[in-house]
């Protein structure tokens, strides 16, 4: 790559977004050196904060002209290093594009800019009895654009699906600055499911500048209960028995003793600490159905060996229970100076065995592992606890984290359920997928970004070229007739 003149780049980018929103000072760039994977830091050459699709396009044209790699960033809460800057590259920060553009409740659609905070979508429509279903634990600070990049989940995706199930149309700026509309706001689009290809593409194909999301009517009733168990085995068996009874809970979260200890210390929840595990569960739907399924689920929990089953007295207590669960990662500071979180997925029926293997993997390195996770869909969040001040402990934690991913792969699962591969887990993609699988996924990337300007070094374990596409292309009649263009 030719040497990039920072002055020239900065001048052109400042012209595109305004000097205030073009950041080149090393001290100012510090904020953007990492995302939620805070242990890894890279300073970009320059960061821009565009305010519109046109400004994003202008920035990408500048980057293209100077051969700069581009990394998109939302709120920077991602846990896989997906928004980790590339040295000498451009970081496009979408946080100023934070407007809700249109609400169409009869069609159950909301059009948003990518910097809109996840929870703000639900807040905007809550007065009408609607909400946006994907609910990552970071939902009060993470952005819809970041959710789209990572195909974020959350506790309630067990019943309602992930971000990809709730995004119907996108405006995307491609690497050359071209703006394309994908999907259809309120109907089945024609052709390939390009929205499905972009959601979860981890910033490797383009920059989303608008999204139309599907929103849901709030269910008539939600019942929550919290149950404690002697160990994660009984708690895991309880989850399997509830599912076997034909109940699809809205959410089933499991916390082991160590995670509960941290949560109790960090938040106001009053949970017993002499138990092995707990479940926090929501059942929702129509009133009559929920009354039936909730009491059935409670009976199953008791039969599965629950020590105690607790129902919240009111909405405030329910909110506190969920706040406890959603603060779990932040709470780890109360029991360990540092932690390393993983996001592997396993078949739900193997939770007990896998948790034992994970504990053993930790014990071999002399480290504790706390578990707080989406038990209903087998999406683990093992938190490997370590003290970075102790020489070698961080490296041992990374080794345990890597072994956890291998355990998940051995049990037929996945290395990530909702956090994404990013830079953190790219090295493990080659263990989950074969070379031809990765080559084929690279086809998708290359179809969008043949010069691989976006987010180099992420997702794929080794750099992959795009190569030329052989073969002549024949224009279709609808193109040559002028009914549609190739642009």
């Amino acid at each position: 790559m030719e040497t990039v003149s920072l002055d020239a780049v900065a001048r052109e980018l400042a012209a595109a977004v305004g000097a205030r929103h073009c950041i080149t000072e090393p001290a100012d760039l510090r904020t953007y050196e990492s995302d939620g994977l805070a242990g890894v830091r890279v300073r970009p050459l320059v960061a821009v904060l565009p305010a519109s699709t046109e400004e994003v396009a202008a920035c990408l044209r500048v980057a293209r002209a100077h051969g700069l790699p581009v990394v998109p960033r939302g709120s920077g809460t991602g846990l896989s290093g997906g928004a980790l800057p590339v040295e000498g590259g451009l970081l496009v920060v979408l946080s100023r594009m934070n407007r809700i553009l249109a609400v169409d409740l009869e069609n159950r659609r909301v059009r948003v800019q990518p910097g809109v905070i996840n929870l703000d979508v639900s807040k905007a429509i809550a007065p009408h009895g609607y909400y946006y279903a994907p609910d990552p634990s970071s939902q009060s600070i993470c952005s819809i654009g970041g959710n789209i990049a990572e195909n974020s989940g959350g506790a309630h995706c067990l019943k309602y699906g992930f971000t990809v199930n709730h995004v119907v149309a996108l405006t995307v700026v491609l690497a050359d600055g071209e703006v394309v509309e994908l999907g259809a706001p309120a109907s089945d689009p024609l052709g390939y499911d390009l929205v499905g290809a972009v959601v979860g593409s981890e910033g490797l194909v383009g920059i989303v500048t608008e999204a139309v999301v599907r929103v849901l009517r709030v269910p008539e009733l939600t019942r929550t209960f919290f149950a404690t168990f002697p160990s994660t085995d009984e708690a895991g068996a309880c989850v399997s028995a509830i599912v076997a009874a034909g109940i699809v809970p809205a959410a089933v979260e499991m916390m082991d003793a160590l995670a509960m200890e941290a949560i109790v210390k960090a938040t106001g929840v009053v949970w017993p600490l002499d138990v092995g595990a707990s479940l926090l569960m929501d059942v929702d739907g129509t009133r009559a159905e929920v009354e039936q399924t909730a009491s059935a689920a409670v009976a199953i929990a008791r039969r599965a060996g629950a020590l105690e089953v607790r129902m919240p007295e009111d909405d405030a207590e329910r909110a506190l229970m969920w706040k406890g669960r959603k603060s779990a990662f932040a709470a780890m500071g109360r029991i360990s100076p540092n932690y390393y979180v993983q996001d592997g997925v396993i078949p739900r029926s193997e939770i007990g065995d896998v948790l034992r293997e994970i504990a053993e993997a930790g014990a071999r390195e002399g480290l504790r592992v706390a578990n707080v996770f989406h038990a209903g869909d087998g999406n683990l969040h093992p938190l490997v606890l370590f003290d970075a001040r102790v020489p070698g402990e961080e490296r041992r934690a990374e080794a345990v984290a890597g072994e956890i991913l291998r355990i998940c792969i051995r049990h037929g699962g996945s290395i990530t359920g909702e956090h994404g591969v990013g830079s953190d887990k790219a090295a493990y993609m080659g263990e989950l997928f074969g070379d031809a699988d990765l080559e084929t996924m690279n086809f998708v990337r290359c179809a969008f970004d043949p010069e691989r300007s976006f987010n180099p070094g992420k997702v794929f374990p080794t750099p992959r070229l795009c190569g030329d596409v052989p073969g002549p292309y024949r224009a279709h009649a609808t193109e040559t007739s002028g009914a549609a263009g190739r642009g």
Binding site: G129, A288, G412, V421, K425, F433, G434, T440, Y473, A484
Partner: protein, 410 residues
């Protein structure tokens, strides 16, 4: 390797009038891969055939040197009942799959027409759906993994066998609706749902389009959770059906509440005995006629779809019938051709109207070549077509798979 190979002269087993020069019906995925490798070496064009229920969809392929029939690839690769996940080979029919799941109290919550013939691979390739999509989502919401045989015969996979999984690019989503143009769907993995303990179907007759829209709005406003809501178009009006599924207490309660809702709106409610597909009657309408059309439009535009699409098409065709899934925004019209020129003109006006609403109108059965040429199957390509072409170029660089059959001639 056992292959069933025979020469096919013109007609018969071809696709949309393009004759197939040879047919293979591999018994294993390895045999299918070998057939595709062989075709790649010889530069042959390949088309795929499952149950043949959607053979009328798309443009005629430019060539079919080899027609690969998937119906003998009908194994259940893995069913994990505790995890509510199943992986199947592409050639299994939906009915066969449902029969295998039923003893476990489970099903794939997908109810397109012709379950006894339609193969899973074909359903994925055509993004088929039925009325229960309202509650359970479409194929893109149910599929969690796929393996494809690429144009070069290499088998690749995306997704996995756990429902929650964001590792790698989403090949399953790309396979859905791709009409066999990116690769042969070899296996697909789905999330399953428990069979409902109870189901009740209710009917309301004599509605106009505005009233159908009103009922759809009230179902949402009053927090009903129906499995399906259909509106069957009859002469001059609509007969609505709403299906509740789930645990008995909730189903009974919703059925009673719906009767009250209907009464509030001035309608009498009927409870027919059979809550199955016959009760919903959508399949009969969707599988008849020589002109079959799908209209996709925003749910709130239901009365405009009636006025500008369904009514004019019905009057330009013979014996028209339509069934709509108002909450999904889909309507299927079937009829017989009387005057091709007049019908084509009505079709063009209807398409313009629905495109103005942000929707689309697709001719689902293009076997009447004269009519299909007059109206175009898909209409104008979307603005993102260049990206679709790029995808096709990467997956199938010499455009040999179902060559030219998909939108824009991909």
């Amino acid at each position: 390797m056992k292959l069933v190979v025979r020469d096919v002269r013109a007609g018969g087993d071809g696709v949309l009038g393009t004759p197939a020069h040879a047919i293979v019906a591999p018994e294993t995925l390895d045999e299918a891969a070998a057939a595709l490798r062989g075709a790649a070496e010889r530069g042959q064009s390949v088309a795929f055939l499952g149950g043949g229920t959607e053979l009328g969809l798309g443009y005629p392929p430019r060539r079919v040197d080899l027609l690969l029939k998937t119906t003998r690839l009908a194994r259940i690769v893995e069913h994990a009942p505790f995890d509510l996940v199943v992986e199947v080979e592409a050639g299994i029919t939906l009915s066969m799959l449902q029969r295998a799941l039923e003893p476990h109290g489970q099903r794939l919550a997908l109810d397109p027409p012709h379950p006894e013939l339609a193969t899973v691979g074909g359903l994925v390739a055509t993004n088929a759906f039925g009325p229960r999509r309202m509650r359970y989502g479409g194929l893109r919401d149910l599929i969690v993994g796929v393996s494809l045989l690429r144009a070069d015969g290499v088998r690749v996979r995306g997704g996995g066998k756990v429902v929650k999984n964001v590792a790698g690019f989403d090949l399953p989503k790309l396979a859905v609706g791709s009409l066999g143009t990116l690769g042969m769907i070899a296996t697909a993995t789905f999330r399953l749902h428990p069979l409902p303990e109870s189901a009740t179907l209710l009917r309301v007759g004599g509605c106009d389009a505005a009233q159908v829209r009103r009922i759809a709005r009230e179902l949402l406003a009053r927090q009903f959770e129906p499995a399906a809501f259909t509106a069957e178009r009859t002469d001059g009006g609509y007969a609505c059906a709403v299906l509740f599924e789930g645990f008995a207490q909730g189903v009974d309660d919703q059925a009673e509440r719906f009767e009250r809702l209907a009464a509030d709106l001035g309608f009498a409610t009927e409870r027919p005995d059979d809550p199955g597909a016959a009760g919903l009657r959508d399949e009969a309408i969707r599988t008849r006629g020589d002109v079959r059309v799908r209209c996709s439009a925003p749910p709130a535009a239901f009365d405009l779809v009636e006025r500008d699409v369904l009514a004019p098409l019905a009057s330009a065709l013979d014996e028209a019938a339509a069934v709509c899934y108002p909450a999904v925004g889909a309507a299927f019209l079937s009829a017989y051709l009387r005057d091709a020129e007049r019908a084509a003109a009505a079709f063009a006006r209807a398409r313009a109207a629905v495109e103005a609403l942000g929707g689309n109108l697709v001719l689902l059965d293009a076997r009447d070549r004269d009519f299909a040429r007059r109206v175009d199957v898909y209409g104008a390509v979307p603005g993102s077509f260049a990206l679709m072409r790029n995808l096709k170029d990467r997956f199938d660089p010499s455009h040999r798979l179902n060559a030219g059959r998909f939108i824009g001639g991909l």
